[in-house]
Symmetry: D2
Subunit: 401 residues, 4 copies
């Protein structure tokens, strides 16, 4: 059957900033490199500003636009809603979409509160019984090296896990002149470094180990409490000349969150998420030490995975620097020959591949909203501990609706 | 003016293997991230096997197919011919296309001999006078870190260049069971590691330094002289169970080429290209040492550039490990925020960007065929020296038609 | 004045295992590379086993032996007592030595309890008023790269410190067959990874930042609770064939300690000490992120310091990989030319240099017992938090006798 | 038998600059960490300047002095002459010492010409027949990681060797103001980067592979032809304020030498030695690629060896970063526990260990003068090729007296 003859998966996307661009790229290209049961179609994109959304549609390749997300959901020619908006809108949109019978891909973190996430999870569970599926966009799982890490741990290559060491270090808010955006507004983003990047570390740690965090002790800190309003936006942050006339606004989220943790499988963990680690650009690092070996990853070197195997011959033991570009590595065989590395956006492409493949098989794609709720519970526990003198806060992962 | 309203650049591509996939991706996506004067249109793809070319068209997004490249060139609805075939066909196709008034993008190396390259260059020069332009696909120039390296050298950051150190190390032919393909057949590929990967090093060295090689002394070596015919092809190479019944065929190209060189600006250089350096997957490395600083690159860590600045304060001097993902770095501002690295295929996308931008400005895109002829002269000198007891062989870069 | 004519500093050392060998090397060699006010003389060494101590004296170059440390302290021909015994003996020996008018160098951690450390500090303060000085052996301070880190922070190179990230990762107790030694016996060692290696991290963090920890939340864990008694001892650990007949004994200390912390200058910190991180051999790592730059160190690459300077020119910012072997770097000018790295034992040699230099100037060498008591308070707080459900535990650094 | 009762090896050393300090340290300390058949005794040191040599003796621990090396050789109480002088004096001293029945340790390169080296080798062969042994000081062989590299190659771990890649990169002569010293005077040093550091690469390459270079094609270059006379000397080089009044003198040696090579076992090689590679402080690098694996070393990270094993499981192949600090690694078990790295001077200590051990066994220590003559032949061939338009120059390693 030719690609043209394949059924299509008609996608409607809401939001078109950083995440929207990454998702669009994935929807456009996934079927060019992977065999999919459906050919994705970039049917419509929604945004509040008419001219901006039209420009985005043209730029990113969407066939039509809407200025009200409700209108997008109401359309008959849409099979899946892709939510790329700030966290405060996820619950309402996702619930409406699922109830309208649309599959949902929702950016992370799932919501801005456990209550919202619980409601979303309940609705998603009901929808799944009708064959309508929801998935949360923890895209780092689809980085080949992290997918390989999970596989190797599942194969027993590191034995019993003792240590998890997770850092997500960025520096774009180190500069106090970086302007205020929605990512620093708690009402929109839910939290700062914790939910934005720490959530990725939590999801990745649970994903690769197969264990869940059972308790935490946390510190959260805001180094810069006031930022200029409306500077030029550059990348995630921005730069703006600040003088005495610059209007300033309050930062209501954390610049950094650090916590120790216990896992339900016996491991102990250290987590750190910060946007104020100068020189660390996107250091999403994860290391696991087990009784038989260790695995270590750093997103700044995303095409590599380091592996120490205690069973290697004495005298030649040492971390293997695996270049994760071999045909036998996850996802990689569909791309370039050995040694030709991938980039940031490939994680989103693989996310589309896994999602569409699951939809074709009428199975639940992962991570489900229930899994993402588990991350949300950790985020909430971290905030609770931090606001309660860092005291130990347990997490009941079982307590799902 | 909207993207739809923009004039299109109608592309016809010949060949659809590794390079074809990379070029297709670039043609599909360049205008999604960069502002271009023309919107590329994937009009037609040519290949000899009807069903294979149709499958490729569908997979890669080409609107129509041809089974004869001459038919492709003859079509009125094609503005540019993109040549992704083995080197022995470049001259005939490129010359025909240019004479038919089509712009040409031709994969490297430009040709399999200096004579062919000279003829192509002469034809390209004539075409350019008619506003029809030709460019050779030395895509590594468009890796942001190498483009930054060139810019920093041009700005004087390393002073007078003394040393050039270029290695291109791969390992996919280390295994004697890797099957024979056209890349090991001198009649098709012209040479082995030398033309396939060494050519990139030569072009990159000349590009970043602004100097040209003036002489070389070379050794070429073939470690495996017979390979199995028709094994399973994997990536660039392949694997195949080899037993006494396996038909074997001769390898007629080099597995490795090494040479010392002098540059016309006074630098001395060491070059090495090999497909037999086990563990080195795509180590395209280039280091330049000058009187004021040094710059070093390794494609296996393609998002980084190392820079030593002798003028840094004493006590804190050391190679800066620059993560080349900042808005001020070449090409990068159009992609993701700081710290979110690019992959192999981005070089091809940038190549399309630079090519289309030059065409929009009616200026010669670089590298021109003339520049690529310069690389060809070096390849020829290396082969001549290697076949002449490694004796010194001068290169006359001026001697262009 | 010739070295022979210089006054000598007559040293008596107690203990001759790993630390004894390192200290002996330092006493023998410091004056060969540095100008010292006294020439150290290896006068006598004490140990309980006569033949063992005699063998050690011969091997390490000590002129005489004692089998009772009290006899060593009683000798008239000893100016300084160097204590290289397990922590449970430090207080008694150090106090006796100081009261006998001998200078003291005491291995770290200072003691096995805060109460002991307080008493030692009080006695040391009294002795100092008589011109008799005590110092604690936190030798990592004398690694050139860490000394450089302190200097650069003091010079303001990183601005206001926000993050401290300290890891001390080893793997020699990952193997459950590694035999039980005094280091796993709480009555002798006080604690496990926490006091043995975590203490170095705490001291180094306070030393380089000039800030003190004000509170912690901690987890301590013992992964292997029983170990074979009397296996072959290799390095810090050992190997021993273990079968059903092997006698096992209890491990009464932690294999790992992890904690979050706040510093009195406003920084937040994450600490981890473990002997179960497979593949990490002696990864004593310390990173500081400030408002103007960052500094990072890893003892496995002890001759390097990484430095990110936000004030570097945009486009060429990146961690400087400083090879700390230049004449302008601390201690280094007295050794080899640029690029010729030092090893582990040099920290001990520099410790002797700093100690003897301070004694020559009749000034308090650092770290004093009072500073070491500060580390002890942190160790105690970590243990208290860990045994109290990881709840926040404050540290009163002012509360010194 | 106790150390005191052991027979001594009475050493007389000539020269006391950089090499003299390193050798003295080794003679003082080797028996403190290794079991030796003789206890070295630092009996006498010779130098032309009376007060300088007396100062050196005191500083470095030598018991007596001589101002004429002939007087040193004439002394009855000397068993071994250690030659640490510039290369132009090696032949005369070594020959006189051997003829006087003294064992000889001679710094590298063995001599400043093949003729001298041949004569030395002939005399050494005659002396060996009398039980008097000579050894050349290619100390890098005793770096544990390089010794491990040799062992692993000998064990077949990399299979048939195809590539040798040797670089020795320094930068202390990059600055044109670095003053003129004997190392830039051909009459004293024989050559520049070639003999000083390139000789180490040649010896190491031959040592680890067990193959000999059979031919070369070379370029030698002097970037700075005049240097200030008599500036302050710092490390290997120096700094000196240079103005119009500064006396300048000619540099008569190479700043850099690069060459391609063939080995008698079939490998091909690329060599580079330079003192003008800014930022490279002591990058003595050696990589070998074979049919089964690869090994790579860089002295700037001297405690590590990288090893790629093609027989590792597919999916987890990658260079092992071996920290060469395990008891099973060469030399290392006599030092510190796992993970506690060694420094530059340990190579000299191990050299003494191997030399004294061989003398104890009455066997020829390695490298013999004959082996060092082999290196000398390569140096001569490189110079010949460089002065003969880089043409291929064969090396007859068999042609030994």
């Amino acid at each position: 059957m030719s690609a043209q003859q394949k059924p299509t998966l008609r996608v409607g996307m809401i939001g078109y900033a950083f995440m929207g661009a990454a998702h669009s790229h994935a929807w456009r290209n996934a079927h060019r490199f992977f065999e999919l049961p459906f050919t994705p179609e970039l049917t419509a994109i929604a945004g509040r500003n008419q001219s901006a959304v039209e420009h985005a549609a043209e730029q990113m390749g969407w066939a039509s636009t809407e200025t009200d997300w409700r209108a997008l959901i109401a359309r008959d020619d849409i099979d899946l809603i892709d939510i790329c908006t700030p966290g405060n809108t996820h619950a309402e949109i996702a619930i409406a979409a699922l109830k309208a019978g649309k599959h949902v891909l929702c950016e992370k973190p799932l919501a801005n509160s456990v209550a919202e996430a619980e409601e979303m999870t309940a609705v998603a569970a009901e929808a799944a019984r009708q064959g309508v599926f929801a998935m949360c966009g923890y895209s780092y799982r689809r980085t080949p090296a992290l997918a390989l890490m999970k596989r190797m741990i599942a194969e027993g290559k590191v034995g019993t896990i003792r240590h998890v060491r997770a850092q997500y270090l960025q520096d774009w808010l180190s500069d106090p002149h970086a302007p205020l955006t929605w990512r620093m507004d708690k009402t929109k983003s839910g939290s700062g470094a914790l939910g934005d990047i720490g959530a990725h570390s939590i999801d990745a740690a649970q994903f690769v180990t197969g264990q869940h965090l059972s308790g935490v002790s946390a510190i959260m800190e805001t180094f810069t409490s006031q930022r200029p309003v409306g500077g030029d936006f550059v990348g995630l942050g921005g730069t703006g000349a600040v003088d005495e006339n610059t209007a300033m606004g309050p930062v209501t989220v954390d610049d950094a969150a650090i916590f120790t943790a216990r896992f339900d499988g016996g491991a102990i963990g250290v987590f750190e998420a910060t946007r104020a680690a100068l020189g660390r650009k996107n250091a999403m690092r994860l290391e696991v030490n087990g009784s038989l070996g260790s695995l270590a990853f750093d997103f700044e070197n995303m095409n590599f995975l380091e592996y120490y195997d205690e069973r290697d011959e004495a005298g030649s033991r040492g971390f293997h620097r695996i270049m994760v570009t071999e045909p036998e590595h996850p996802y990689v065989g569909n791309w370039w020959p050995t040694g030709h590395g991938l980039g940031y956006e490939h994680g989103f492409t693989h996310q589309v591949v896994d999602l569409v493949t699951a939809l074709g098989a009428k199975t639940q794609p992962t991570p489900s909203f229930e899994e993402a709720l588990g991350v949300q519970r950790v985020l909430a526990a971290v905030e609770e501990s931090a606001s309660n003198n860092s005291n130990w806060t347990t997490i009941n992962q079982e307590d799902t609706p």
